[in-house]
C-alpha cells in the first residue's frame, strides 16, 4: 500500500492557502532535506530541476514532525484555519 493509497483513506477539507511554508534559499543550501523523507504524509518533495521545495500542504496530518526535524528551523508551521485540514475518524 503506497503512501498515496494510505492518504486516500483520509478525509480532508483543503484550505485555499498553505499553512506550511519555507524559505527556499535555506532549502537550497540544505544537504539533508530530511523533511522529504521523515514526513508521514510525504508532504515535501525536492524538485531538482526547479530547485524548489514542493509542499503538498493539503496532505498534511498536522503532526508537527517536520518543524522539529528541520535543523535549519526553516519550516514555518501553523495549524490550518478552523474547519480545514485533516479530519480523523478513527484516531
Amino acid at each position: 500500500m503506497n503512501i498515496n493509497e494510505k492518504l486516500a483513506t483520509l478525509k480532508y477539507n483543503k484550505d485555499s492557502e498553505s499553512h506550511l511554508s519555507v524559505d527556499n534559499d535555506v532549502c537550497m543550501r540544505c544537504t539533508d532535506k530530511c523533511c522529504t523523507f521523515i514526513c508521514p504524509a510525504n508532504v515535501y518533495e525536492w524538485n531538482e530541476q526547479k530547485c524548489t521545495l514542493t509542499i503538498r500542504y493539503e496532505n498534511c496530518l498536522e503532526c508537527g514532525a517536520c518543524k522539529i526535524a528541520c535543523d535549519k528551523k526553516n519550516i514555518f508551521w501553523r495549524y490550518p484555519n478552523s474547519g480545514f485540514g485533516v479530519k480523523f475518524k478513527n484516531g
Binding site: I38, K87, F88
Partner: protein
C-alpha cells in the same frame, strides 16, 4: 462575548478534564477546540485507563463509547521472519483499560463537560493569548477576543501557546517520536478468533524488533470492536539518522509474517499520525505562571515506559482545574498561587512516575540493540531448540545459543553460565 473565569485551549483529554472539573465547581469556563468536533485532530494507540478516567467520568463504561475492555497484554518479539510472544491474560475482575476510538470518545467526553455547565466552542482556532503589559488577559480566536482570569493551555504536543509565553523551549528531535497508525477493519468474529477474545474483551500488544530493530521504535496493536489499530512510534532523530520513511516501515511491519496473520483480509480504513512526547521528566516545561497553567501533552506529561499519556493528561487537567478553583475563590491568580498546581503534580503519580523513569530512556537508548534485536533473536532460538528434534546434539545447540549471547556481549555472567553448563554435563 461575556467574560469567562477560565478559558481552556484544546478539547483533548487534559482540556476536557480541566473544563469539567471547573464546571462542576460552578466556575464559568470556556473550552475551545480547533477541530470541527473534539477528536477530529487527535490520534493515539491506544487505550484509556479505567481507574483514573473513572475519577473524571464515574463508571463511564456504562455509557461512554468504549470499544473493548483489555484482558490481555502481549509482547511480540520479532526477528526478521519469526516471533516469540509473551502474554499476560487475566480474568476480567475489574476494568483496567479500554480501547476507544478518539473521534467518538472525545466527542462524548466534551458532551459530559457541556452537561456539567462548560461553554464549548468547536471549530475555533486560537490565534494567540492576549498579553498586555505582561499580563495575560485572555485568548484571541479567529473571530473575537475572549477575556478571562486564567488560561489553561491544553493544546497538545505542538503547544504553540506554551511557546508563545516562553514557558517552553523548542522540542529536540530526540525527545519526541512520530507515531503512525493504520486502522484496519475486520469482521468482529475474526478479531475475536485471532486474538482469542470474547465480545467485550480486548488485547493490547507491544511489538519489539523485526522492521523496528536497532532503533528507538516500538510497535503496537490494539483490538477495537470491528477494527485493529496497528502502528508504531519512532524517534524523529532515528528517522533522520537512518533516512527512513515512516510509511515504508509501516508496510514492512504489516508484511511481517506474524503480524500479517492477524490483519489478513482486513481493509485499511484510516491512516493517521501524531507526535508523542518522549523526553519525560527532563523535558517538563514550566507549567504555570501568572494567570496560566499548562496541562497534558503540552506539558510533555507522558510516561512512555508504561505507555501512559491520556491518564496523565486527565489527571493534570483535573489538578490544574482544582488549583484554578482555589485561585478564583481567593481572587488571586498569580504565579505564587498557581504554583500549587506543580506541587499537586509532584505529589501525584504524574511527576512521581516521571521522576522514577528520569533516566530510563537513556538506558534503553544505550541498550536498544539488545532489547530489539538480541532478545527477540534469543527468545526465538530458545523456542527453536525446544521445538526441533533432529540429529544435532543438544549440547551443540546450547553452545550456539550461548555464543550468540557472548558475541553480542550481552551478559558478563555468560562465561559462568557456560561453566555451569559444563559442570552440569560432567559425569
Amino acid at each position: 462575548m461575556d467574560k469567562f473565569e477560565v478559558a481552556v485551549i484544546g478539547a483533548g483529554p487534559s482540556g476536557v478534564s480541566a473544563a469539567i472539573t471547573l464546571a462542576r465547581a460552578g466556575k464559568k469556563v470556556l473550552l475551545v477546540e480547533r477541530g470541527d468536533g473534539a477528536g477530529d485532530k487527535n490520534v493515539f494507540g491506544g487505550t484509556i485507563y479505567a481507574v483514573q478516567t473513572a475519577d473524571i467520568f464515574p463508571e463511564f463504561w456504562n455509557s461512554a463509547p468504549v470499544e473493548r475492555s483489555i484482558t490481555e497484554q502481549k509482547i511480540f518479539m520479532l526477528t526478521d521472519e519469526d516471533s516469540s510472544q509473551f502474554s499476560y491474560k487475566y480474568k476480567l475482575r475489574e476494568h483496567k483499560a479500554f480501547t476507544v476510538n478518539r473521534a467518538k470518545w472525545d466527542r462524548w467526553a466534551v458532551c459530559q463537560a457541556v452537561d456539567a455547565g462548560a461553554y464549548y466552542a468547536p471549530k475555533t482556532l486560537v490565534k494567540q493569548i492576549i498579553v498586555e503589559n505582561g499580563k495575560i488577559l485572555g485568548i484571541e480566536t479567529e473571530f473575537e477576543k475572549i477575556y478571562c482570569e486564567i488560561v489553561i493551555i491544553a493544546d497538545g504536543i505542538n503547544s504553540i501557546f506554551a511557546k508563545q509565553l516562553g514557558l517552553r523551549n523548542d522540542i529536540k528531535d530526540k525527545d519526541v517520536s512520530v507515531s503512525v497508525k493504520e486502522t484496519i477493519e475486520l469482521p468482529k468474529e475474526k478479531i475475536e478468533d485471532r486474538f482469542n477474545l470474547d465480545e467485550e474483551t480486548g488485547c493490547a500488544c507491544k511489538i519489539l524488533g523485526g522492521p523496528l530493530k536497532n532503533k528507538m521504535a516500538l510497535g503496537f496493536m490494539y483490538t477495537n470492536k470491528n477494527t485493529v489499530s496497528l502502528g508504531f512510534s519512532i524517534g524523529i532523530d532515528e528517522l533522520k539518522k537512518h533516512h527512513l520513511k515512516p510509511y515504508e516501515i509501516m508496510d514492512e511491519l504489516k508484511s511481517h509474517p506474524t503480524i500479517s496473520s492477524y490483519i489478513k483480509g482486513g481493509k485499511v480504513i484510516e491512516y493517521s499520525s501524531h507526535l508523542i512526547p518522549e523526553g519525560g521528566y527532563n523535558c517538563i516545561p514550566k507549567v504555570y505562571d501568572n494567570r496560566v497553567m499548562v496541562v497534558g501533552d503540552a506539558a510533555m506529561l507522558v510516561n512512555n515506559i508504561h505507555f501512559e499519556g491520556t491518564n496523565l493528561a486527565m489527571l493534570s487537567g483535573k489538578l490544574a482545574a482544582e488549583t484554578a478553583i482555589d485561585a478564583l475563590n481567593r481572587q488571586d491568580c498569580s504565579a505564587s498561587v498557581l504554583s500549587e498546581y506543580y506541587k499537586k503534580l509532584e505529589n501525584s503519580i504524574v511527576i512521581k512516575d516521571l521522576r522514577t523513569h528520569k533516566n530510563t530512556i537513556d538506558v534503553i537508548r544505550k541498550n536498544i540493540s539488545t532489547l530489539t534485536s538480541l532478545y527477540p533473536e534469543l527468545a526465538c532460538q530458545f523456542f527453536d531448540i525446544m521445538s526441533s528434534a533432529d540429529y544435532i546434539p543438544k549440547r551443540a545447540k546450547y553452545r550456539k545459543f550461548l555464543s550468540t549471547v557472548i558475541k553480542k556481549g550481552m551478559l558478563p555472567s555468560v562465561p559462568l553460565a557456560i561453566l555451569a553448563m559444563e559442570k552440569c554435563f560432567k559425569k
